[in-house]
Symmetry: C2
Subunit: 349 residues, 2 copies
Amino acid sequence: MSSSGLQFPHRRYNPLRRQWVLISPHRTQRPWQGEVNPSSGFSDVHYDPTCYLCPGNTRAGGHVTPKYESVYIFDNDYAALLPDSPAPPADASPLLHAEAERGRCKVVCFHPDHSLTLPRMELADIRRVVDAWTAEYLALGQQPELNYVQIFENRGAMMGASNPHPHCQIWATEHIPDEPAAETEALKAYAAEKHSCLLCDYLQVEAKEQIRMVCENEDFAVVVPWWAVWPFETLVLSKRHLRSLADFSDREKTSLADILKQITTRYDNLFETSFPYTMGFHQSPVDGEEHSEWHFHAHYYPPLLRSATVRKFMVGFEMLGMPQRDITPESAAARLKDVPAIHFTQKSP
Amino acid sequence: MSSSGLQFPHRRYNPLRRQWVLISPHRTQRPWQGEVNPSSGFSDVHYDPTCYLCPGNTRAGGHVTPKYESVYIFDNDYAALLPDSPAPPADASPLLHAEAERGRCKVVCFHPDHSLTLPRMELADIRRVVDAWTAEYLALGQQPELNYVQIFENRGAMMGASNPHPHCQIWATEHIPDEPAAETEALKAYAAEKHSCLLCDYLQVEAKEQIRMVCENEDFAVVVPWWAVWPFETLVLSKRHLRSLADFSDREKTSLADILKQITTRYDNLFETSFPYTMGFHQSPVDGEEHSEWHFHAHYYPPLLRSATVRKFMVGFEMLGMPQRDITPESAAARLKDVPAIHFTQKSP
Ligand SMILES: O=P(O)(O)O[C@H]1O[C@H](CO)[C@@H](O)[C@H](O)[C@H]1O
Ligand SMILES: O=P(O)(O)O[C@H]1O[C@H](CO)[C@@H](O)[C@H](O)[C@H]1O
């Protein structure tokens, strides 16, 4: 594919979300007199007495985090969702419509060591996290009042992480939230029309084109999607048509651990910093339906644009109009592919 | 309306955007060890020799900003949209779909004084800005290749403003961007079903309920919408069914200037800071259709949550699932209504 015409402003279509993104290559040349964030370095502190996620410390409300040795999971002390929220009062008007939203919020500590992040963890330790996610997905999915399980990680102060200890969250909800609901619709419509899976087909196209591929292993591939919104956004796709973590083979679980280590290592290496991001898995709802249309994937949404300290702001036109990006997905993929596969802090033995 | 049942997690429906928001009251009680931004104070500098928007200074590319005396408008030197972008090459696959997006990007300097912000400007000066917006909306709307005119302001470093000089931007596009396109669909569907306007009806409901109303004048009202996503998000609604700035009477133009001064004054007073936000107008597309369904409004999306330095992060669950808020719209409205109507820096004469 010739990419010459793609060096001018154009818009691209996201068939998974059925939305558009405006691409304005070269716009990063404009001068920046705006916000500069501190770069996020690595901690040397293996145990922080003020961190409520470190083993043995007291959390809010007097709960004590036990002296855990690998993964530790607990109910969020400030849960945004409760299992037994009462129904709201009847709507005063059809334009003031509310519904109950019951749910559960959990915190998953990846490791007792406060200084670690996923790319610096051992593969075996990440595999333990994958096993914990799988067990939670299955257990929460069993609960009749829960219909979607959202696993996500906010890493870095820039991405609103309220604590730097390596952890993620799981919010399970009564309703399928808007994002996975919209993806479900798109996957279903594609399957009905083409008798095939949108993301299986998309992975084939990207494997052929290669220019947006970042890295892969036997079971997963990472691509900067054609429709990426964030400068270095990536999509992690399973090579098999897996609906959810429940469908993974033993090898695929280790492969998932490996691919997460690969992509987060590349992120950190890009600006030699602890790269901030929001990431999470989209997978089959747990509403009792078969959902053969679903294809497991992870979205990485990292904010950095120019350097370790200057981010992309999704504001103004982006909030009121549509998302806009300043570099092409192809150039972002090339840069992520170019960095070393080994973490920069581990270069010298 | 009893609001007792609304003190527990619930979700609310946004009929204008046809999306949901999760509301988790009291969640702000959780400890915050996350990012703290500098508070944005006011500048005393009326002319900054390094600011490329101050009168007489040289901008990027050697353009000189003239010694303007009220509003000054120019084409963005780093435009995200160009009037003559070539069409992208033919799609290599239906899953890699691109289209040309032609457009114009303009910068509107509100005032030569570097230190001013809208709430600190004189009403007559804001009225001049309203007149400039109206003229631009009309002129850009005349151009056959442009079909939507997005006027927006990013204020504050936290909201990605790359320059603190009081200004806004106008991006006019060939296609109607996703946000106003989705609102157009919702307004049309409501009009077809109810033979009435969604936002006219909504304003009536809020005028009766009162608890989400913040301030008003003869021609406009400001409400924290039932479905607000950002902690102190507001919606500015015209009382008459105006499709766009083109439909405004002379008095309505002055009233718009007044209501913008009112709401931004309340924002600044809330945390006694220069309150950051993204704001913009949604109005009738300029695609040649009548658009009798359209009802002019402004959205204010401010990030602050707890204080002048701690913001709400729309990350994790919000990016992968659905928006979530930590205080009720009713409590946000009460706080905005409670602050003085006069700007805190102008208290003493
Ligand atoms: O145009 P500016 O002020 O340099 O840039 C700002 O507004 C633009 C339009 O919303 C955004 O695309 C940028 O991310 C933001 O930093
Ligand atoms: O739960 P935390 O880490 O305290 O909070 C963070 O993640 C949540 C879930 O995405 C968001 O609602 C918060 O805005 C964010 O600061």
